[in-house]
Each structure stands twice: as structure tokens, then as C-alpha cells.
């Protein structure tokens, strides 16, 4: 395959699907190829990894966190709203999927989709929170997550949600299919972020994050675009929750409403760099990898490490790891500060 074109030279039209594909790739340019790679490579790597590495649960958790980190990316990276209570959507998805398996007897894959829907519905319910800004939004979303947990796990609702006694989906358990679903979901989230980065919608979101008033003046319907990003982010977490519930099949409300899940997703996204395509995935793979090496036996040391990491990132590298590589690349290209 020829490398991506470096200019606007018109490509003579050739017949056949291969020619058309090549033409489309050229039209997309180098960025297009790396965008396709951003979807295909992670999917291929995770599909292969499960055959090469025996700890499937670790890979599954990594996938789930990568999706959640991308969800944080969508809402925080593109709109500047940081939801500490993001886990609420994950839990809503887990419960949405589980309860639809238990009560509606739907196939598990459909249940995962319904889990995503549950996440989006909760997102719609919490849309008024977007009226708050900055820290207020972050804390209000945290309170909302705790409130949802209090409701779902409430003993008074045990006949509906099974309250604190948890969920058992052993009949729907399917190890390989649920893993593949998680991989597909990662691909979907990568695709979503790629589209967001290239589309008018993403541009409008970033304009809104920079300066909502100016964006509104320039014709961006700020409230609608922001709410849409919020719903997409909530649905991603809901889908992740649904896949997670299906894959582990026995869980308690404390497992899927654990604030640590929000914390991890945010840390992974910030570590890799929000607003980028690869950052959240790299953050999730690297940090969750480290966590599963050292963190499982001594979680407090891992917590200490990432606490220090966050503080250091905020103080010295506010753009995440991504800004480091961008800086280096700029250096090599002779960008400002580099040698000519």
C-alpha cells in the first residue's frame, strides 16, 4: 500500500474495491491511517492477548477501564466537565443489564445494550447537573453517584434490585463471548473518540470548553452539544458496566458503585492525556498493568503512587503524558525551541 499522500495531487481513479479503499485512505491522509489504526490495533492486540496470556480477568478489567477512561475523555477532554461520580453510569449499566437478564430474560448481548441505555437514561436524568460548572459539577456528580448507590443497594428495594444482596447471572455466563464483547466495546469507544476528534461536533465541544460564550456567539448550540457529549459518555460507561456484569456474573452493589472505579478511570485518562485518541487507552493499559503487578497485594502503595503521580502531573505536566510526546515531536521537527 502506498504511503499517504503528501499533497493535494489528484489521484487517477482506478476500478475495483482495493483502488477505492486506497483512494479513501489517501483522502483521509496520514491522520486517517493512524485513526484507523487507533481502532484496529487495540482490538487486534486484545483479541490476540487473550490467547497469549492466561489471566483473562486482568485483560477484561483493563478493557473495561480503558473504555471508562475513554468515556471520561469524551466528557472531560472535550467539554471540561469532570464527573467524580462517573461510576454511577457504570453501576447503572451493570444493574440495567443484570435486571434485564433476570426479569426480561433477554440474551446477554442485548442486555449489555440495555445496560448502555440505562447509563444514558441516568445521564439524561442528571443532565441538570451540567448547569453547574467546575468544582460544583464534580462534587454534585459525586453526590449523585452516592445517591444512586444508596437507592440501588437499599434493603427496602431488595425485591426489585436485590438490594445489598447482589446479583447472580451464572446462567448467562459466557467467558469468551463476554470478552469479545468487551473488545468490541473498546473498539467502539476508540472509534467514538476518533470521530469526535475529526468531526464538527468535536470541534464545537472544544470551542465550548475553551469559551462557552464565544462558542455560543459563533453559532454553537452549547447546551445541546454538551448534553449530547454527556449522554455519549454515560452510555459508554453503561455499556462497560453491562459487559462487566455479564463477564463476572456475580457481584454486589459495592463492586459496581465503588468510587475507586471513578478514581481509576479519571487517573488513567489524566495520566495518558485527555483530549487525545490514545492517551486514555495507554493510561489504562500502563497503570492498570502496574496496578495488577503491585497493587493487588498492597493497594495502598499503588494508591500512594498514583496520588503522587496526579499531584506531580497537575503541577508539572498538566497535559498528561501525551503532551510530553507532543513536545518531543515538536522538538524533532524543529518547532519552537528546537534546533533547525
Amino acid at each position: 500500500m502506498p504511503p499517504a499522500s503528501h499533497g493535494p495531487k489528484p489521484v487517477p481513479s482506478r476500478q475495483g474495491p482495493a483502488g477505492r479503499a486506497a483512494r479513501q485512505l489517501r483522502r483521509l491522509g496520514a491522520g486517517g491511517i493512524s485513526d484507523v489504526g487507533a481502532v484496529v490495533v487495540p482490538v487486534a492486540v486484545f483479541l490476540a492477548a487473550v490467547h497469549l496470556y492466561s489471566n483473562e480477568l486482568l485483560l477484561l478489567n483493563m478493557l473495561v477501564y480503558a473504555v471508562l477512561a475513554q468515556g471520561i475523555n469524551v466528557i472531560y477532554g472535550f467539554t471540561g466537565y469532570l464527573p467524580f461520580g462517573y461510576v454511577a453510569f457504570f453501576g447503572a449499566g451493570a444493574y440495567g443489564a443484570s435486571l434485564s437478564i433476570i426479569y426480561l430474560h433477554v440474551p446477554a448481548l442485548l442486555a449489555v445494550v440495555l445496560g448502555g441505555l440505562a447509563g444514558a437514561l441516568l445521564g439524561a436524568l442528571l443532565t441538570p447537573l451540567l448547569r453547574l460548572s467546575g468544582a460544583y459539577f464534580a462534587i454534585a456528580s459525586l453526590a449523585a453517584a452516592e445517591a444512586v448507590y444508596e437507592v440501588v443497594s437499599n434493603p427496602s428495594l431488595a425485591s426489585v434490585t436485590r438490594g445489598p444482596y447482589g446479583i447472580n447471572l451464572v446462567t448467562a455466563y459466557n467467558q469468551s463471548l463476554s470478552y469479545d464483547a468487551a473488545v468490541a466495546l473498546l473498539g467502539l469507544s476508540m472509534l467514538g473518540v476518533v470521530i469526535l476528534r475529526r468531526s464538527r461536533f468535536g470541534l464545537a465541544l472544544r470551542a465550548t470548553a475553551d469559551d462557552a460564550t464565544s462558542a455560543e456567539m459563533a453559532g454553537v448550540w452549547v447546551v445541546r452539544e454538551r448534553s449530547l457529549a454527556w449522554l455519549i459518555s454515560a452510555a459508554l460507561a453503561g455499556l462497560a458496566g453491562g459487559v462487566f456484569a455479564w463477564a463476572i456474573s456475580v457481584f454486589y452493589p459495592t463492586d459496581v458503585f465503588d468510587l475507586t472505579i471513578s478514581v481509576f478511570a479519571i487517573v488513567f485518562a489524566l495520566f495518558g492525556g485527555v483530549g487525545t485518541t490514545w492517551g486514555p487507552l495507554v493510561g489504562a493499559v500502563v497503570l492498570y498493568g502496574i496496578y495488577s503487578l503491585v497493587g493487588l497485594s498492597d493497594p495502598q502503595y499503588f494508591q500512594l503512587t498514583y496520588g503522587l503521580l496526579i499531584a506531580a502531573l497537575v503541577l508539572f505536566l498538566p497535559g498528561g503524558l501525551g503532551s510530553l510526546t507532543r513536545g518531543l515531536r515538536g522538538h524533532f521537527k524543529g518547532a519552537p525551541g528546537g534546533a533547525r
Binding site: F84, L132, P155, I266, L304, G307, L308, I310
Partner: protein, 292 residues
Amino acid sequence: MLFEFAVVAGILFGVYYALLGVGLNLVFGVLQVVNLAHGDVVMLGSYLAFEAYYAWHLNPLWAVVIGVVPALVAGGALYAGVGPRLARAADPEMLSLVLFFGISQIIEALATVAFGNNQRSVPASSLGAAPLRILGERYPRDWWVVAGVSAFVLAALFAYLYASPVGRATRAVMSSPRESAAVGIDVRRVSVATFGVGTFLAASAGVLGVFLLGGVNPTEGVSITVTAFAVIVLGGLGNAPGTVLGGLVFGLATELTQTYASTWSGLVPYVLLLVVMLARPKGLLSKSARVA
């Protein structure tokens, strides 16, 4: 009878909740920083009370006094270190939120290393054993002691804010950092002092919280921060006297639901926080509150 008990308990807890929130609110009012590590400092205060009682065989209330100097120094030093860097940032509010979130994780991890994962408590009898009988109801004595000490610390805080030169400067910075700087107030020094005072208030709330919050464990910080935030949102952000009202409303609301719908009482702080934030974002006393 049940009702009277719940109301009195609500007031006692309310005074305590005011103390729990006021440090967070003071820091917010002066520095425009949401200190997400507030609850973790409260947690450390509780461990100080625990150590005072078990390791040093003191009345746990001494921990309030023991905590004064370390809290002032640690809080002031921390803010002196990170403050200038935050002030230079493009979006100081978001940055400080994430930074203090990181600091909260660090404190939680260190506390787990130091004290282990178990729930610890100090017996209520260390504050005097016999229950107090008032208006025909019996109340645990520690509730009254805690409310009394909380009221004392709050009174000391208001004396500091309204009668001392540093306190007056603090209130000036609360209303306008720029104008304060213009009339010659050292805003940076006031900020450092305020963070120290806020840290002490959190730690003293922790010493008392080991009784009213049912013990202490290293992971309780987040939920305490949310509770404190609910209290100060009720009273108005940046409005220190309003926090007392916020605490009382919060205490009454939790005690009344505890009495009449106990399974749902856990929901109260969060729902109150959300409702007030969305309906009256400037607090119940919105006229005197600052625009946040």
C-alpha cells in the same frame, strides 16, 4: 417524644456538622479552592484522638489542642508550596480540584499504611459515662460534650475572624482579593494562614468525629468531604456564618430521617446537596451569600 428526641439530637449533631463544614468553607471563600482532602484531614484528626486515648492515655479531647500546631504548620506549608504554582495556571479551579484529589489519595494511602484497614473507635465513656437527662429524655453524654466543644471552637473561629487583625484581613480577602491587595493586605500570607486554620478546623472536627461519626477508617475521607460540602452548600459557599445554619438544617434533616425512615437516611446528605445546588446555588441565606 420521639420527635423531641430527634430535634434535640439534630441540633447537637448540627453544631458538630457546622464545625465539620466551616474549615472547607473558609478555605473555599478565601482561596477559591475546593479542598477535596478536607475529609482526609478529618480522618487524620480522628486517628489523633485514637492515639491520644490508647497510646498516650489522655482524654481524647486533648487531641484538639495537640493538633493545633501540626495542623497550622502542615496546612500552611502545603499551601505555601503549591499556591503560587496554582495561581499561575490557566484554569486554577480545575487544577486545584485535581491536585487536592491527588493529595487526598496520598493521605488515604499513608493512613492505610500507618493505621491499617480496620475500623477504629474510641469508647464514648472516655467523655464521661452517665447519659444526660434533659427534658425527660436520656441523651448519650458524648453528644453534648461534642456539641459543646464544637460550639467553643466555632466561637473561637468567629472571634478570630471578627476581632483579630489577621481575621479582618481574611474577611477582606474573602470579599475581594484584588481590592484587599490594593489596600496593602498581603493576600498570599492571608491565604497561607487561612489554609492552616482550615486544616486545624478539619482536624478538630476529626477528633470529635470519632464519637459522632461512629469511629474512623482510612477510606472515610471522600464521604466526609461530600457531607461537609453538603453542609456548606446549604449555608452558602464562602459564607462562614451561614455554615452554622447549614449545619443545623443538615443535622435536623439527617436525625429526622434516621428516626422515621432509617433505611433511607443515608440518602439525605446527597439529595440535600443536589437539591440545594440546583435550586438555590447560593445557599439558603442567598442574600448574604457571595456569588460562587
